[in-house]
């Protein structure tokens, strides 16, 4: 069996500079990425972290930072149920100007054999990148329905 690769393309009515900034900015990611705030100095080899409500969600290292064309980092999920047990995978973001659009291609690969993170990210990226598009084009964001479901379960658990 070939190794799993996740590829997602989205066109955003924006500039490569704005899309690149949104993907690398702490406040912007917190807004469109359902509270997941990225932090890094974006030097090759430096750490990259995503925190949500003070909890570490993703950690990695910068592999490439070529603004505003390409961004790449390793990606280790600390989200439940993965909790950092699986080896890091790799995320590559390519930005290309096309007329009044940016074609953003996210390629996520280099997963552990029998990766469980692969299925989580396959569900996650379309919503993250849909929310990014809404954020840049319509100044609104989308919410992750699974966080709402999780919050509901926690409320029910606390009540019982």
């Amino acid at each position: 069996m070939s190794k799993p690769v996740f590829v997602y393309v989205v066109y955003i009515a924006s500039t490569p500079e704005k899309v690149f900034k949104a993907l690398t900015d702490t406040d912007a990611t917190a807004k469109f990425w359902f509270g997941n705030a990225v932090t890094s100095d974006w030097k090759v080899g430096s750490p990259v972290t995503f925190h949500r409500e003070g909890k570490l969600i993703v950690s990695g290292k910068v592999l490439e930072h070529d603004a505003p064309r390409r961004l790449s980092y390793t990606f280790q999920s600390h989200h439940e149920p993965h909790n950092g047990t699986e080896k890091p995978s790799r995320v590559v973001m390519d930005l290309e100007q096309q007329r009044d659009q940016v074609k953003l291609t996210v390629t996520h690969d280099d997963f552990a054999p029998d990766s469980k993170v692969f299925s989580s990210i396959s569900n996650g990226w379309p919503l993250v990148l849909s929310s990014l598009k809404s954020y840049l084009e319509a100044n609104r964001v989308l919410y992750a329905p699974w966080y709402e479901e999780q919050a509901k379960r926690e409320v029910e658990k606390a009540a019982s």
Partner: protein
């Protein structure tokens, strides 16, 4: 329909709109012309009805039959390309749209399924085209503006179709 269709290309997008608005965007002639490179969809609203995607000059780009018509949740149509002429050799595929609530937004899933051992080079057309079409649909519903995404079939697809018997 006797052939068995296997999903080959899936594209998911989340849109801040209602199920009904997304259904309308997919099924109305006027609406599709705005984001589907000026092509207008014509659908007979019932199972077994005719499905056409028409070019602005009136020629038929794609035609097929409605396999499932369940507003505002699911639309499935067979898809046979009539133009460009070379593309007529391609066996029909199946295109399915599923619309589901997702929090305050809706999730639109497009699945392109095939009944034969379709080469990757031929799949490249849909893999290139669907993100552009559905990015346009999302922009239109959320902002009222339509992006100008340039597109033509990939060369590898054109070459692969020429090699088909």
């Amino acid at each position: 329909m006797t052939a068995t269709f296997t999903p080959k290309t899936v594209y998911v997008t989340y849109i801040a709109a209602t199920l009904e608005k997304v259904w309308q965007a997919l099924t109305s002639t006027e609406f599709t012309r705005k984001y589907f490179w000026e092509r207008g969809v014509e659908i007979e609203p019932k199972r077994g009805g005719a499905f056409v995607l028409r070019l602005p000059d009136g020629r038929v780009n794609v035609q097929g039959k409605v396999v499932e018509y369940d507003p505002p949740r699911k639309l499935s149509v067979t898809w046979h390309v009539e133009w460009p002429e070379d593309f007529r050799k391609l066996p029909e595929c199946l295109v399915t749209y599923e619309i589901a609530p997702a929090g305050e937004a809706v999730r639109l899933t497009m699945t392109e399924s095939h009944s034969w051992e379709v080469p990757d080079a031929i799949l490249s057309g849909g893999k290139l085209g669907w993100p552009a079409v559905l990015s346009g649909l999302k922009s239109l519903l959320e902002t009222g503006k339509v992006p100008a995404i340039a597109m033509e079939p990939p060369q590898e697809m054109i070459q692969a179709i020429r090699r088909l018997k």
